[in-house]
Symmetry: C2
Subunit: 193 residues, 2 copies
């Protein structure tokens, strides 16, 4: 299950709360070149690596997806995904829209969720609250609008009006997807004789 | 949203508990010729009508679906569905598999959920618990097996191992379906400019 959104939409908070409710799903820890924020732990929130190391891994084809966002790199190591999926576990990815688009091609069985702000006004005001100068804000807004154009191929959209409601939606999507008939072929077989 | 299952699988209990959690969805009250069970109320659980009245409504084309089950008739009046859907409300139907198959053709946007017992053994033991003679039990089992063959076209399957879990699955399916991108075209439009 892939959760993606423009910056400032609250997707990481939603994923964090969701993981508390559904401890069976494993979180895919991304690698990034951005410095840790207060409280973030290496190996838990991200693997914090140098730009040189990141470029090395790109060259080695180690990433299932990677993207650049405001001067920093973010990527998901193929090995981490393969280990979790290979063990039969469900996997949650919290990634950039560009990375989600890349993953979609290689994981057609994935469930893709896009988080939207409650309105365009809310998005603008969230970007404003970060205290950026108007030019920077304009760039961020333009980037967010470009990312939002990608929603046309996503499976699900969560409009993040209220954190708890959004978390409930993500949990519902997870549980409902596990009830989809196509995913239950093994369990259904004994009933079909 | 249509919930269907063989007799004795617990679908009506699941629907009843689900409606308590999600009062926004309206329940489609079916018509039936079977006598009310203790506690069942006319107009709430079913419209209890005579066989003559039922046949009259079949002739008049008043039913969106109808089915015969162990000598009694069950059907959903088109008018009831149209009133609820026309008011923009979501609609829950708790109906026989034969009726669900009929509805599917006319309501391709519907969400179809099939409830399965935890196992074939559990189904047999539930039928046994009703204290039927072996011949009757064999007929019921054969009918259930025929109905279960229909799951191949359902959207979702709930395996009713535990009532609360099954209710949570149905609620999750309902909430997740409301997050499906195709169903959010109106809300998404302002973001696409």
């Amino acid at each position: 299950m892939v959760v993606s959104a423009p910056s400032g939409t609250g997707k990481t908070s939603i994923c964090r709360e969701f993981l508390k409710l559904c401890p069976d799903i494993r979180f895919s820890v991304s690698s990034t070149t951005r410095p840790p924020r207060p409280g973030e732990k290496n190996g838990v929130d991200y693997y914090f690596i140098s730009e040189a190391a990141f470029r090395e891994q790109i060259k080695a084809g180690a990433f299932a997806e990677w993207a650049e966002n405001y001067g920093y790199y973010y990527g998901t190591a193929k090995e981490i995904m393969q280990n979790i999926l290979g063990a039969g576990c469900d996997l949650l990815l919290d990634i950039e829209p560009v990375g989600a688009t890349a993953l979609r091609k290689n994981y057609p069985g994935g469930v893709f969720v896009f988080v939207l702000p409650p309105s365009l006004e809310a998005l603008k005001s969230r970007l404003n609250r970060r205290g950026e100068i108007p030019e920077v804000m304009q760039v961020r807004l333009g980037k967010a609008m470009d990312e939002i154009k990608e929603i046309v191929w996503y499976d699900y959209i969560i409009i993040n009006q209220d954190l708890q409601d959004a978390v409930d939606c993500l949990r519902s999507i997870y549980i409902a997807e596990k009830c989809r008939r196509e995913r239950l072929a093994e369990k259904i077989r004994p009933f079909l004789g």
